[in-house]
Amino acid sequence: MNIQMNTASSTMRELQKKIDSIANNVANVNTHGYKKQEANFSDALLYSVTKQAGTANEIGRTTPNGLRIGGGALISEGITRHSQGSLQETGRELDFALQSPNAYFRIANGEENYYTRNGSFQAEAIPESDRLALTTASGDSVLGADGLPITIGAGYSEMSLGNDGLVTVSYDNQPPETFQLGTAKIIRPALLENAGDNRYRLPGTQAEQAAAGVVELIDMPMSHRFLETSNVDMAAEMTELIATQRLFQSQGRAISYADDMMGLVNTMKS
């Protein structure tokens, strides 16, 4: 087996994953509430080769016996960076932005609970009713602090967020209503699992998560008529892309060296 070719090709495969994650970050640079993903490398397990029998033949060594040949680099699990993105004023009534990095909106799709940072909500008509359901862009219901989906009257005129965290919905010809957006403080962001559509999932039910101390279902500060931009730094991503691509190229070079060397072996008897 050609160790060198193996090392270089498996490293290329791992580097490709890093390029993929950079591409995903760049693609989501304008996605509200997107959190960038990072790929970390470590050295792979090693092949251990013993060259000489007996330590008596190994005089003058500076390292312990044996020869360890590395198997290239290995990507460890992608880490999501939950740092706060900057806030962008939109002026839209249904836009909310969270102000601390570990705060999340609680949303649900049927029985499934999710968390999201994207506070760009929609008001969707509920069939055979004069009320509107507050939903996310992908159609999940936005939950209130009581854990139930939020609904508002169809003909609302204005929405405002008070210092107490209550959202007041005013109507032209009926008394105002209030609701509180359901937010959660994620104590263990490392457990958040990407569920697609800008949503995250935690293992277990919401009650179990709260009992395990993974999440606290409390009111978190937010801004109204603002959205949180993604925390992707384009300059950093591009620099990382360039460095990764060059490293990818150098692994290709290592493969061609290995190939040329095998060619030399094959042409030894010409």
Partner: protein
Amino acid sequence: MFRGLYTATSGMMSQNRYQQVLTNNLANASTPGFKTDDSAVRSFPDQLIKAQNANQPAPIGHLSTGVYLQEAIPSFLQGPIRETGNATDFALLDEKLAADPETGERGHLLFAVETADGDVRYTRNGQFTVDAQGFLATSFGQRVLGDNLQPLQVGDSEFSADDSGAITREDGTVAGNLWIGVTEDAGQLVKQGHNLLAWEGDPDDAPALAADGERYAQQGFIEQSNVDLTRTMTDMMTAYRGFESNQKVIQAYDRSMEKAVNEIGRV
């Protein structure tokens, strides 16, 4: 048999090994805390060649019987430091260590982590994360040890650490101090993959906790790999050409053998 045929073959084999070591260095050029491996080539035992005279054999000299790649020695030179701004990233700064007054050499600093089966391993990769239970851990889940050799529970990733490695949680409680060890003989550390280093020297000389309260660690920074891309590429070219030269030598031997077999023996 010709004396140098197998010597040239051993040259090819060792250049091939050298190339493998270089490829691995290159592969880990972006692995935080990775230490480049320098190769040491060693000659097999020499033979003393003597000329057969009528009654007194006259010595001609020594002849090497080949070479092999004996060891890959990790170079524990400090890698460049890069700012990441992540609270869970730490870089160790060797130059903050006091130099030995006699040799003028500094030791090398290390973090300690605990493997799944409870063994202590060392690492230079300070790119940590917080695991599901709130412990500081490596990206492969090995927990990072504090100066009492117990895992450090930091709560969430909003903790702060000073440059002596003392960690304060977000709520102001103290999580403990990072175990920052020092060793004078980094050559006894054996790479085990996943950025782990095992101590294979005398257990009495194992890395020991560095002087308390010194400013060795830097939060929000990582130590990059100390692989020099330019040098590694150059070395790979050299290794390739060395491999090629040995192949040519073998071909030359082959032609000599051809002459011996087919021409000298012709009647």
